[in-house]
């Protein structure tokens, strides 16, 4: 699974730390998700999507090998 978190953050102009605070996780967690090494739970993905006001599928995208 890949994600467009970094791009979305740039559009909304918020830092990793600010996003982390908004959804109540640590900054390292956001960073680990952005580098595609951690797949967040549904709850966390929905919270992230809500911050950007977009459906989850626009931020998190399934890949062929998933």
């Amino acid at each position: 699974m890949k994600n467009s978190l970094r791009v979305e953050r740039a559009i909304k102009n918020i830092t990793q730390g600010e996003l982390a605070e908004l959804i109540g996780v640590s900054r390292q967690t956001i960073n680990t998700i952005e580098s595609n090494r951690y797949v967040p739970s549904t709850v966390l993905a929905l919270k992230i999507a809500r911050v950007f006001g977009k459906p989850v599928e626009e931020i998190f995208i399934l890949e062929d090998e998933d």
Partner: protein
């Protein structure tokens, strides 16, 4: 307050299938972390002094006279070692299972991965060292002249009382802090279901029966060291092989079961450390070579079977 109650839930939700907020369940509040270090560091120092330099806290002992007719037969029970062990166990448990400052699902996942990993490392190491002791004789201690490889296993089981926890603590902090601004995940690999799970299961049950019978049947008793060593490995195979239908949910149950098994095991060990002395504690230590694994398997199998049962009922 609700945070403190989180931990109490361990006792009441045994087997309850509720995974909605599972990531941060069963953890101590964050301030336990500092408390943990305050207990752990003096515990380690005290443990080192008492174990390697025979230091005893003055006056921290009682004299027991087992035979009233023979006043010269006095047994002195020291408590310094017990205190050191209690401090180390409580310290590590508090440090490792206190919430991080920013506790979230990823830190919880990393904690559990580190836990599972430390079980693998600790018991592989135990098994390998015991095997070496049996095959080439004792390489580290001088116990062999008295008790052979069995004496070595007793020596090893003293370390085993706390080594899993130390490995876990090192691994957990390595995963959290080794990379700047990012966590390491610490991937775990498992063996496939077939044939490893069956091998691990049947072999472990067979060996454990032999282990329990060893006191009654002298012929089995002579192979006690070999049985303990093999059991160490076969339990690892059982724990590290997948279920028939293993998915995300089952893996989560697996990880949670290991955490609960650890809580249960070390609470029991603390009680044993306080109340059991003399020869009985030796047997307790030997049992401790398998107890985490056994508690884990019981809890995991229990929730897994429950899940399967609920699945059947839903179909009907």
């Amino acid at each position: 307050m609700s945070k403190t109650l989180d931990f109490c839930k361990v006792c009441f939700t045994f087997g309850k299938l509720n995974f909605t907020r599972m990531q941060t369940r069963y953890l101590f509040p964050h301030y336990f972390k500092k408390t943990g270090w305050v207990l752990l560091i003096p515990g380690l120092i005290l443990g080192y002094l008492t174990f390697f330099h025979q230091y005893q806290i003055p006056g921290f002992q009682i004299s027991i006279q087992p035979d009233p007719k023979n006043p010269n037969n006095i047994h002195i029970q020291y408590f310094t070692q017990s205190l050191a062990l209690a401090l180390v166990i409580m310290g590590v448990m508090f440090v490792a299972f206190a919430k991080e400052k920013f506790e979230d699902e990823l830190t919880a996942a990393i904690r559990r991965n580190a836990l599972y990993w430390s079980i693998l490392v600790n018991y592989s190491l135990c098994g390998i060292l015991m095997m070496v002791a049996i095959l080439v004789g004792d390489v580290f201690y001088d116990y062999q002249h008295i008790l052979g490889s069995f004496g070595y296993i007793i020596g090893l089981s003293i370390y085993n009382l706390f080594s899993t926890l130390i490995f876990f603590l090192l691994r957990y902090h390595y995963l959290l802090y080794s990379k700047q601004g990012e966590y390491k995940l610490g991937k775990l690999s498992f063996l496939p279901y077939y044939p490893y799970r069956n091998i691990g299961q049947y072999l472990s049950i067979f060996l454990f029966t032999l282990f329990l019978l060893a006191n009654k049947v002298p012929l089995i008793g002579t192979f006690w060291s070999e049985i303990i060593t093999l059991l160490c490995f076969s339990l690892l195979v059982w724990i590290f092989s997948r279920q028939k239908h293993e998915d995300e949910l089952v893996t989560n149950m697996r990880m949670e079961s290991m955490q609960l098994a650890l809580y249960f095991n070390y609470s029991l060990l603390l009680l044993g450390d306080i109340f059991i002395y003399g020869n009985a504690f030796f047997y307790f230590m030997i049992f401790n070579l398998f107890s985490v694994q056994i508690f884990f398997l019981i809890r995991f199998q229990f929730v897994y079977n429950k899940l399967m049962r609920e699945l059947k009922e839903a179909k009907a």
